[in-house]
Amino acid sequence: MKDQPIVTENSGPNKNLYRLSIFAAAIFFLLLLRLWYLQILEMENYQNLSESNRLRLVPVAASRGTIFDRNGKVMVSNRPSFSVAVIPQEVQNKEVLLARLSQLLGVDRLELLQKWEKGKGRARYYPIILASGITRDQLEILEENRMNLPGIDIQMHPVRDYPNGIIASHLLGYLGELSEQEMASELFSAYNPGDYVGKSGIERNWEKELHGVNGGRQLEVDAMGRVLKTVSEVSPTIGNSMVLTIDLDMQKKAEEAFGEQAGAAVAMDLNSGEVLVFVSKPDFDPALFAEGLSSKQWNEYLADTRHPLENKALKGQYPPGSTFKIITAMAGLEEGLVDENTSVNCNGSYVMGNRTFKCWNRKGHGTVNLRKALRESCDVYFYKLGERLGVDKIAWYARKFALGAPMGIGLENEKGGLIPTAAWKEKRFGKKWLRGETIPISIGQGYLLMTPIQLASMIAAVANEGTIYRPRLVRRIINPEGQVIREFHPEVLARLAGIKPGNYRLIKEGLFAVVNERGGTGGMARLYEVKVAGKTGTSQVVKLRDKGGAIPYQYRDHALFVAFAPYEKPEVAVAVVVEHGEHGGSAAAPIAGRILRQYFEGKGIIKKPTPVTGNAPEENSSETPVSDAVPEEAEQTVNED
């Protein structure tokens, strides 16, 4: 009995179909019964509800959480924004009202009329917004004349406030109205149309924490839709606050130091990966987005050839230039190809086959050992070393530094840079790697690409002798009651295993010489109270045979500088890229110096400068070598013969 099929096809012709039909009809009958219950038995009850007790739901937007810097200084908060709305059904004389409003607000009557007409066709007694973002003064005037403005409603909602003006725009990100696509997604199911959400940066990536929970008011309205009273109200819950790793004072100084130049700068605590400074220039004004950006402004941002909306610290990929000599040197030392005494003769160029690779110093550096090669950024030393290493060895060491892949900082669209290998070229272009192509790689040119955040991480790993931390932007998240609900800790991304401590020392000594010794290229980053070590870099934008005369802005080389300090017991790492800044030593190093100075001023190690004795590195300009101002070039030319 038990194993008899309950429904099978051979239990009579189409008997199973018959059963399915009965099942379908039975379920439909159940639906009908329910409709009978609702529409006939409970009709009176529901008709009463629909006639007299109409509930309308009005959403109340939650305030977003505040964003603080590492020291608890406010970076982004909220302020109330007022808008003027009209309920058309309550207006007796439209023309008079429009004329009065236009006069009080100082807004064109036609503009108000347009908004009014656009809002028509909605449910009755629904307020139409005529003007938003009105000032306190306008608000006062309106309040005084409230009696003469029947049908006008003043509404308040919170908008983002930026007390420090335009600062760290790319890091913080901007807001925008919930798009239709986002609205359709389940992740935004608790959102209301018209809600503002993070579209980039911290605001976007921590949207869930920052947004809070919208509240709502249940209003009782009459049969005409007129509001009678508030039945119940669920107040919105403010979003969680975030404490970033950023140091607002350092950030300010860094941005000041950039001035009008384009580029990016990153500073991080090299013993934890906490990012202290995160600059991308040029930037945009997030306050313009807070209440809806005009399409004109948006198009201006998009049309700007210096890309103000692009986060260059994460998405800018630059050839690292001579800063990459750190990796080449490390590879050479570890492979035993050079030691501190190995010396090379630089006569200004290096010939390989029929090609000549020039040193930036055409006169040559003479006899060069590792320390001098780093200090004066001698290209020929590294050409020779690079050739002996080969591209794959160099790449192997670069990969150990976690280069060539995104670092997982936790913001959108982070780029990974590019560490070329022979296999990579074969796959990408279908061509064999040429020995001559290794030469530019050894000085950070060619296919090599790194992001500013990777530059900072590279120098940090040298300084702390082998640990690559994942760069972090958030320290902790705090709920509206002030309790810490999430705390973030250092995360080790990779470790440089097996590197001899002596080799770190040799490289660090070279980097110290770059900043502090006669002939060093990075003198402009020097601080007198604290010892700084670093490396300049210049990355070629285009190859120009003749660099004489004025070069158009977009063809000028990028200037780079990476540094750490203090030399003896490193704490902080910095990377600066100045787009088309030409020389790392003159354009990028001073910015790095300014950032480091602020770090130590903040710790009380350096006293705040009095105006007269300020700008210490400049006083020393007579002593700093000429090479600061001389182009540090990496040029290769094909021999005519």
């Binding site: 309950i6 429904v7 009809a25 379920i27």
Partner: protein, 366 residues
């Protein structure tokens, strides 16, 4: 190609029924969206375009013998699985639970098409391996694997509504093929602990919320609960004869959520009352039974299975949507076939109807 006999055997009655229901839908959408702010083409006009597109689709599908589905069902299944994976990967980058695949000129939901494809694959499988003594555990294994893949991917999106529909369609077809009583009972018993585990580990917080709110709408009077309460008021206040066309206060004053899509039937109930609902339910019952009768008349096993699958697809959509509107099922976002506004649902339904017509017109060829 197109035999004269095909034309004479064309089932005009079924097409008429479909157009009648869709037409009532257009009228209802006109009312539901009457108070909307007008931007561009009105919704009811757009819906007319979709219906027209659907009819053209029927003509196209009918000109091809449905047996090609038998040859290509596994291919279609494979392609859709790939598309579902693509949706998951692409969805991650846009931060949301994306179900849509953008093809540039238009976007569609692969999960929607999976409803049709699972029908074809099951029909194909059970044609090839008929099991006349009812299915045992071993026989269920392969169909189960066929179903599990798409189900997991759709649930991952996450789209609980579509996942449960695909499941119910497959289940209906299994019941048609026949499952042994002992097997059936043990599977049901085994499913209960699995459901508990699923509740704990797989459901998202908002999905749990929805189910809890459904069980007790008072939990969330401002959210989902509000929708159910308002929908019940709309339906109940319709009474015997309704408030008349465009006379529903619940809909005209915007108390209803998504009133031209998922809650279209709520608008209809308010304006046409119990009488209207009775007519609508009869029309829909006709549609489902018509589908089953196609299966009955068809002498080809593959066609029979296809027809049962399509009838099941229509049936479950109707039952879940109306059940949701009248507060006996949770709000899962399933549209009412032919009646709710929306292109995707219209196209899927029309493909289903086209398959029925196709089987019907070729029933004497075997």
């Amino acid at each position: 190609m197109i035999d004269r006999r095909l034309f004479t055997h064309f089932d005009w009655g079924l097409l008429g029924l479909v157009i009648l229901i869709a037409g009532l839908g257009v009228v209802n959408i006109a009312s539901a969206t009457a108070s909307y702010r007008l931007v561009g083409t009105p919704y009811y006009i757009k819906q007319l375009y979709w219906i027209l597109g659907g009819v053209l689709l029927i003509v196209t599908v009918c000109s091809i013998d449905y047996h090609v589905l038998e040859d290509f069902s596994y291919w279609l299944y494979g392609i859709l699985m790939v598309l579902l994976l693509v949706v998951l990967v692409a969805g991650r980058s846009s931060m949301g639970a994306t179900r849509w695949l953008n093809l540039g000129f238009f976007s569609f939901q692969p999960s929607e098409l999976m409803k049709i494809v699972i029908i074809a694959v099951y029909a194909h499988y059970f044609t090839k391996s008929p099991n006349l003594n009812g299915l045992g555990f071993k026989d269920l294994l392969y169909p189960f694997l066929l179903l599990a893949g798409p189900l997991l991917l759709i649930m991952k999106q996450p789209d609980l509504g579509t996942a449960s529909l695909v499941f119910l369609i497959a289940l209906s077809m299994l019941m048609f093929v026949g499952v042994r009583f002992a097997t059936f009972v043990s599977v049901v018993l085994a499913a209960i602990p699995l459901l508990f585990a699923g509740w704990h580990f797989h459901l998202r917080e908002y999905q749990k919320e929805r189910i809890l709110n459904f069980l007790n709408p008072e939990r969330d009077p401002l959210g989902t609960g509000y929708h159910i309460i308002q929908s019940k008021i709309a339906v109940g206040s319709g009474g015997v004869f309704g408030k008349g066309f465009m006379g529903g206060t619940q809909s005209q004053l915007h108390f209803l959520p998504e009133q031209h899509t998922d809650f279209a039937f709520s608008v209809f109930s308010e304006e046409w009352g119990f009488t209207g609902c009775l007519v609508m339910l009869l029309l829909y019952l006709c549609l489902v039974l018509w589908g089953l009768s196609v299966a009955k008349k068809c002498n080809d096993r593959f066609g029979k299975l296809l027809a049962v699958g399509v009838a099941a697809m229509l049936f479950w959509h109707i039952v879940i949507n109306i059940g949701m509107v009248i507060g006996i099922f949770p709000v899962v976002g399933v549209p009412l076939p032919l009646f709710s506004y929306g292109g995707t649902s219209m196209i899927t339904t029309m493909v289903g109807v086209a398959i029925l017509l196709n089987i019907q017109m070729r029933r004497f060829m075997f």
